[in-house]
């Protein structure tokens, strides 16, 4: 006999004046190889068609389905029910604006982050369609890709104490983004330029270093190393600035 799973799911539809935030219970029979993606879709199709949640790739690559699963932020499509107890509590990610039920607006948050970190290559070189590509060491390329693997799921932000306290804290995903450009030889920004972006309490000096972010990152990004790297680099930059004055 397979288990009967009990789901406690956060419900609230801000667009419905009659709706108030509450938990709702659903019961579902577990099937072989069931993931939260399969379970939530079944609940929606068979029990409550108004239930809101986000999935896209259902394969752990797009980052849509971040939610708090039994107290811990994670990707729902990645999560097999057999790894969970019979009672499963699902909440939307904190920090981000709630769209409804389990769905949050990560898009606006990350778009603002691109603007603040100027998340693109800064260079004065023009592209020449007739020339060969500029060479790059393969190790450098692989290193950049390592940091670019972030899927912007928002789990690290939701797990971060500082981000929960201050709305303007950049968070691990953004600091990791800065590190990605910092090690890219194509980007001509200097340490001082980066200092302007992250050399304050909203940036690297707001981080308390408790590393909840790395613990929950579903892509296992080396956030701890990056935060340490940026802290050292920005610390030095800050000293240099003091001495120059």
């Amino acid at each position: 006999m397979s288990r009967l799973l009990k789901f406690n799911i956060f419900r609230y539809n801000p667009e419905d004046t009659l709706s108030t935030p509450h938990m709702e219970e659903f019961v579902l029979e577990e099937t072989d190889a069931m993931t939260l993606f399969i379970a939530l879709n079944r609940i929606r199709e068979e029990q409550d068609p108004s239930l809101q949640f986000d999935f896209c790739c259902r394969a752990g690559i797009c980052g849509s389905c971040g939610m708090v699963i039994n107290g811990r932020p994670g990707l729902a499509c990645h999560t097999k029910t057999k790894d969970l107890p019979g009672e499963i509590t699902l909440l939307p990610l904190p920090v981000f604006k709630l769209v409804g039920d389990l769905s949050v607006d990560t898009g606006s948050w990350f778009r603002e982050m691109y603007t603040r970190t100027e998340s693109w290559i800064h260079t004065d070189k023009e592209f020449d369609p007739a020339a060969l590509e500029e060479r790059m060491d393969n190790k450098t390329a692989v290193g950049i890709y390592e940091l670019e693997r972030c899927v912007e799921c928002g789990c690290c932000i939701s797990a971060c104490g500082t981000a929960r306290l201050r709305e303007d804290f950049l968070g691990a995903a953004a600091l990791n983004r800065v590190a990605r450009f910092l090690i890219d030889p194509r980007d001509q920004r200097t340490d001082a330029d980066y200092y302007e972006i992250i050399g304050n309490d909203m940036g690297i000096f707001g981080c308390m270093g408790l590393l909840a972010c790395e613990d929950v990152c579903p892509k296992h990004l080396p956030l701890q190393n990056q935060l340490g790297f940026l802290r050292r680099k920005m610390g030095i930059t800050s000293l240099k600035r003091i001495f120059r004055k």
Binding site: S50, A59, P129, M136
Partner: protein, 611 residues
């Protein structure tokens, strides 16, 4: 109601849409992309393997050039493509890859010296040249004569998507995510925008633009088993079909990928086979080398998927609670390779299957993967039927893929076509003055509001949207799959026609308030069934086998009668079948139809035509 004006409105913020928007922005025009999800979640980011361009940097790619790439593409298409377009594509692809490098893509680069590689389970050695050090590297993919697939580990789509979206941010291209286009605004001649639904509030919004581009990706979700994301649902195609004047091209050409994992149909990349992985049967024996001695696992996808299905039918499949499957073996590639260049594959296997591919076999079966068909455009990306409407990427039938697309050619197409079509749109915008007709706009909005009210109030009936969708899924799965017959397709068309009637009678069970996912599903259902009918009916009428369209009752490729492209139009909303028309597959012929060099080669020659 909010009305937003822009020069170019792109429905879709995947690679094709964003690439075109960048081009328009570069020329000084305003551009907005709509997307169901934040841009980087678009399905482009799911592409693992890589993108083809004949840079010829790797020693295994030596001698490669656009001519060879062009030839592979035409053969891959089974001579169903537009050769003029395939030529444009092959010539531009290397430049676009270099441009991407300039914008920030961390391509894997050539490392000089000795290294080993695998082919068909056997180990070989190669030596990369000193003078190529640091140039863009390539890997092997199916159906190609050379190593031509540029990649970043196995997260190519993700890396390119990040760079493209960064570029959009830099150029001031706006992305309105969580916004779903549900209807085109047009007067039967010119397209002037869309009615969209905000997926944050559920409200309707109007977008008016001088040019509208459909870059909404594939529509694999009309099938039950697919590698596609849940947003690849054909909603934007449906709104084109709804105009009654915009034809869809070659809808019967549906690609099935050999290696979807069982049971979830998540894709493991063709790079597995490109890097030397093999397919095994129930006895853990290789079989592709028997059917295709030359190319084996590296024949084109249509061919490999067909032989796999054939082999299972012969009784060599592995039985499982989810039906039969075969095995993919990459164990011999070793831990370093698998956790490095195939890391996403490693993660997918361990997280979704509980299988460790370093030591265990991966259960796979062919599954729906790519839509060769789509909004028919000319070589400039302009849609047939409506002025001011353009399309590119998987959504379009631009048509460089014909009846089968080669691995790595789609991601490359998104940026190449996005660039070409983007420039054509900029030209169009330069010469364009529009007047937006208010009556037209309010009519379009009113129509959508009436539809929504009818669904919420169950005015047309109370059919369950998910059950009707399941009926459509089942019909296609049974009748319009890898192998097709007249009986199967007849039954499929009949079942879909029944589903169409039911789709018109859908009513919601929920209250429809706010974002309401049931309403979103219901709004596109009728259109999806129409797309399904275009697939099935087009397949029924095409009495030959070409590329991924394989008729058991007409096994030959028939160049005499079918060197054509199907155009499917839904002329009147009351029709129960699409109207099919045909045009020549290509007007420019660089390579006359011939043998592909893989797959079976029963061909009825075009020369047999009686004058």
């Amino acid at each position: 109601m909010q009305t937003v004006y822009t020069d170019l409105l792109v429905v879709g913020a995947g690679l094709a849409g964003e690439r075109a928007a960048v081009e328009a922005a570069d020329a000084g025009f305003s551009a907005i992309c709509l997307s169901l999800v934040p841009a980087r979640r678009s399905h482009s980011s799911a592409a693992q393997g890589g993108m083809q361009a004949s840079l010829g940097n790797s020693v295994m790619g030596e001698g490669d050039c656009p001519d060879v790439h062009f030839e592979d593409t035409v053969k891959g298409s089974d001579w169903g493509c537009d050769q003029e377009v395939a030529r444009l594509f092959a010539d531009a692809a290397p430049i676009e890859m270099r441009r991407l490098a300039h914008w920030g893509v961390p391509w894997n680069r050539v490392v000089p010296g000795k290294s080993i590689y695998f082919k068909g389970g056997k180990q070989f050695e190669k030596v990369e040249k000193e003078e190529k050090e640091g140039l863009i590297m390539a890997r092997s993919f199916g159906g190609t004569a050379k190593w031509r697939t540029c990649y970043t580990s196995d997260g190519t789509g993700h890396a390119v998507m990040c760079t493209m979206d960064n570029r959009c941010a830099q150029m001031g291209v706006e992305v309105h995510d969580k916004t779903e286009a549900i209807a085109l605004i047009h007067d039967g001649e010119t397209c002037s925008g869309v009615v969209a639904r905000c997926l944050r509030s559920g409200e309707l919004r109007v977008y008016l633009a001088k040019a509208v581009m459909i870059a909404s990706g594939g529509f694999g979700r009309i099938y039950p088993n697919t590698t596609n994301a849940v947003i690849c649902d054909g909603g934007a195609h449906a709104m084109c079909v709804d105009t009654g004047v915009v034809p869809m091209g070659n809808m019967e050409a549906v690609q099935f990928h050999p290696t979807g994992i069982v049971p979830t149909d998540i894709l493991v990349t063709e790079g597995c086979r490109g890097d030397g992985g093999t397919l095994l049967d129930v006895n853990e024996k290789r079989f592709m080398d028997i059917y295709e001695p030359e190319k084996a696992e590296l024949a084109s996808r249509d061919v490999v998927s067909r032989w796999m299905t054939h082999h299972m039918r012969e009784g060599h499949g592995v039985k499982s609670p989810y039906g039969e499957h075969l095995w993919l073996d990459i164990r011999h590639l070793g831990e370093e390779h698998i956790t490095g260049k195939l890391r996403e594959v490693y993660e997918i296997c361990t997280s979704f299957l509980g299988v460790n591919p370093i030591h265990q076999l991966i259960p796979v079966r062919p599954t729906q993967h790519y839509s060769m068909g789509g909004v028919r455009t000319n070589k400039d990306g302009a849609a047939y039927g409506l002025k001011g409407l353009f399309s590119a990427g998987e959504a379009a039938c631009w048509d460089m893929h014909g009846f089968n697309r080669l691995g790595g050619n789609s991601l490359a197409e998104t940026v190449v076509a996005g660039g070409i079509v983007g420039r054509k749109i900029a030209e169009y915008l330069k010469g364009c003055e529009t007047i937006f007709q208010t009556a037209l706009i309010s009519d379009a909005v009113k129509r959508q509001q009436t539809r929504i009210d009818a669904l919420v109030k169950c005015r047309n009936g109370s059919e369950n949207v998910y059950r009707v969708r399941a009926a459509m899924h089942e019909a296609l799965n049974k009748g319009a799959n890898i192998f097709r017959t007249r009986e199967g397709l007849d039954a499929c068309v009949a079942a879909l026609q029944e589903a169409l009637v039911r789709a018109k009678n859908v009513g919601l069970r929920s209250d429809g308030k706010g974002v309401n996912p049931e309403l979103a599903a219901a709004l596109k259902l009728e259109g999806q069934v129409k797309l399904a009918l275009m697939v099935a009916y087009g397949a029924l009428m095409r009495t030959e086998s070409r590329g991924s369209h394989n008729r058991e009752d007409f096994p030959a490729r028939n160049d005499r009668d079918w060197l054509t492209r199907t155009l499917a139009i839904w002329k009147s909303p009351d029709d129960t079948l699409p109207t099919l028309e045909y045009e020549p597959a290509t007007t420019v012929v660089e390579i006359p139809p011939g043998d592909r060099g893989y797959g079976k080669s029963e061909i009825i020659s075009a020369d047999d035509k009686k004058e």
